[in-house]
Symmetry: C3
Subunit: 271 residues, 3 copies
């Protein structure tokens, strides 16, 4: 895997444009800054004049559907449209899709209308996007009756994009090839925003590579491996210490550490 994308990210220092939710925005921006990109965060309920200025200079747009999206959906739609226009890759985090019917509709509309490059969510969220039956609360890789790999592949094929499905094992697929990442820690679930950060880090890597499958899986491996390494040195009841240490470690981590600690399985010919 092309872990050297991490070096490129730091060299390019791309502007990562993010439509954030207000719960996790501070951690998300600090993680982006720490790994070596430059965060530009807005809330969705904003007008478009400056949004277009930002789209022009950014490397990618990550859209987080956290909090309630109804009153913001028009602005999200407009901003993604600008990203389409300027050919900037869009990463969608369908937060809590599956928990509310109106929310599912909104996310699916965006996916049908726009050129979304990557979807990053947990198994329940990914299942909801393709109308598959799944237990939407307390998401774990093993909780539904369906095969999580198949769900991810179906979603990728349906929306013609990369899917990064988070869980005990992370699954990244372009609908054909599949990469599994086994590095993990339960501490991710104890901290609000762990998934939001991964989505935004995928945005950072997609800003420096037009191979979005590669960018997505490298981002996922970097994050999962760093999290596992940090979890090894903190207590399992320390979500705050874990989170702060993880954000800091993203600044420190390098290609060598990642490649020697990653536990990955891939269907690609190359590996």
């Amino acid at each position: 895997m092309k872990y050297e994308l991490l070096d490129k990210l730091r060299e390019v220092n791309p502007i990562a444009f993010n439509i954030c939710n207000f719960v996790t925005v501070q951690d998300v921006c600090n993680a982006i800054n720490s790994i070596g990109a430059s965060p530009a965060a807005v809330e969705a309920n904003e007008e478009t004049k400056e949004a277009e200025d930002l789209i022009k200079i950014c490397g990618s747009l990550t859209v987080n559907l956290g909090a309630l999206i109804d009153p913001k959906i028009d602005q999200i739609d407009t901003t993604i449209g600008l990203a389409d226009k300027y050919n900037k890759p869009v990463i969608l985090d369908p937060v809590a899709v599956g928990a509310s019917p109106s929310r599912d509709q909104r996310a699916i509309q965006l996916l049908k209308k726009h050129n979304i490059r990557v979807i990053r969510g947990n198994a329940g969220e990914i299942a909801a996007l393709i109308g598959a039956q799944w237990n939407a609360k307390g998401i774990d890789a093993g909780e539904g009756d369906l095969d999580p790999v198949q769900i991810a592949k179906d979603c990728a094929n349906q929306y013609h994009c990369i899917v990064a499905q988070s869980g005990k094992t992370d699954i990244i697929t372009d609908g054909d090839n599949v990469t599994k990442v086994f590095n993990e820690t339960d501490l991710f679930k104890l901290r609000v925003g762990s998934g939001d950060i991964l989505s935004s880090l995928i945005g950072c890597f997609c800003a420096v590579s037009s191979d979005f499958y590669e960018a997505t899986r490298v981002a996922t491996v970097v994050y999962a491996t760093t999290g596992e390494l940090v979890a090894n040195v903190v207590n399992q009841h320390q979500p705050s210490v874990f989170s702060a240490t993880l954000i800091d470690k993203l600044n420190d981590i390098d290609v060598k550490i990642i490649s020697s600690n990653a536990r990955v399985q891939s269907t690609d010919a190359e590996e």
Copy 2:
């Protein structure tokens, strides 16, 4: 006191619906997550379609009046109305009531119109809700001329709800019975959002017990005792370390630790 509600909270893992303020939302949600509930946070200036979806699946609604409430009051009113409709307990944190006359009016309107189950505030805020004279800045249990227990009881009786009044000594009352919690640390005041977190933890406990007096006092004891234990191991000039350690400790604390460290006095027959 029924400290075993803490075990029940973790077993049930209720969805704690919160209308948060943007200053403290991250800490509030992480505290909710850490103790064992599942946070769902929105800002008040949102439409109601998804709000109703969330009210249906939540265990309680905590409403924080932080930041300016004028432009949000209609939405707050609507969401509390939905909680009434679906019989979900509502906890109100009247942040900064007493500091601005228009703010007092708004909070009192909500209390008169809706079935609010618990009010959590400091003595100045509680006094303002009943029109009592109090020094609204630099709140401490001893700063007004009135008896803090009487203020809390009067407020509980006037609005037919539980009052949790925070201060050096916390006072919880249903207007008749009174519980005092003596565990404390000055570090709570050094950290923005300490009160907001308590309000939301009360929301978590009210989601798993229909005895709201019991739920409120157990939540208060758990929080005050955990804070005091953490304060014993950090320096008195470390609000950030205190806050992070407190959030983590909420994940670790158990019924045995709480019951052996709580310093409580109650007028109830049972104790």
Copy 3:
């Protein structure tokens, strides 16, 4: 320099009214609280009734133009107008001015219309406010062709205010006198919101002294010196640990520690 303003700040405990951006508001308010003032934070998209109540009781207003300002500019304009009316000093942080043409116009309009007392920004932002050529990304004191001191003085003269220009060396000027602060650490740049915090601390000091040049430079020295002291005890790849320790240290720092660690050069007669 009148470092004893720090003691006065703690004695007065002024209410520091802040129009914050949602990315950094939590750290900003905790820093204000930690140093000894009382934060009151709002988002810009709010109505004015409560804003006027808050303006009446506050010591100063700090306006942060972070996130997109287009939809909020009317409310920002109204609130600054209220500060003019009640003669409360206004500190402006022109976040990301220089990055977007529409943003530059908005900030300049505010400066022309209102009685802004202090501008706090980096060299790129200050240059953009006076239409000077500068590299707007990756700001450093040495990156443009122009003399940073001259840019700061020109800006101060053009808008009749104090300018605090942040960089490797901080420059504070009233357009005539110049103070340079050499205390520094690269960790400030690794953490989102480092500049926002400084702007708001300047707001705290301007709330307790009508000599805004003195208040601004004391605030800058206190922050830069505290940051440098903290950086000496943490690892250079720990932005989260740095930030938390810095906020805590602001509670602990005193006039003696500041005056014995500050590295300052001033054109004033007194020093």
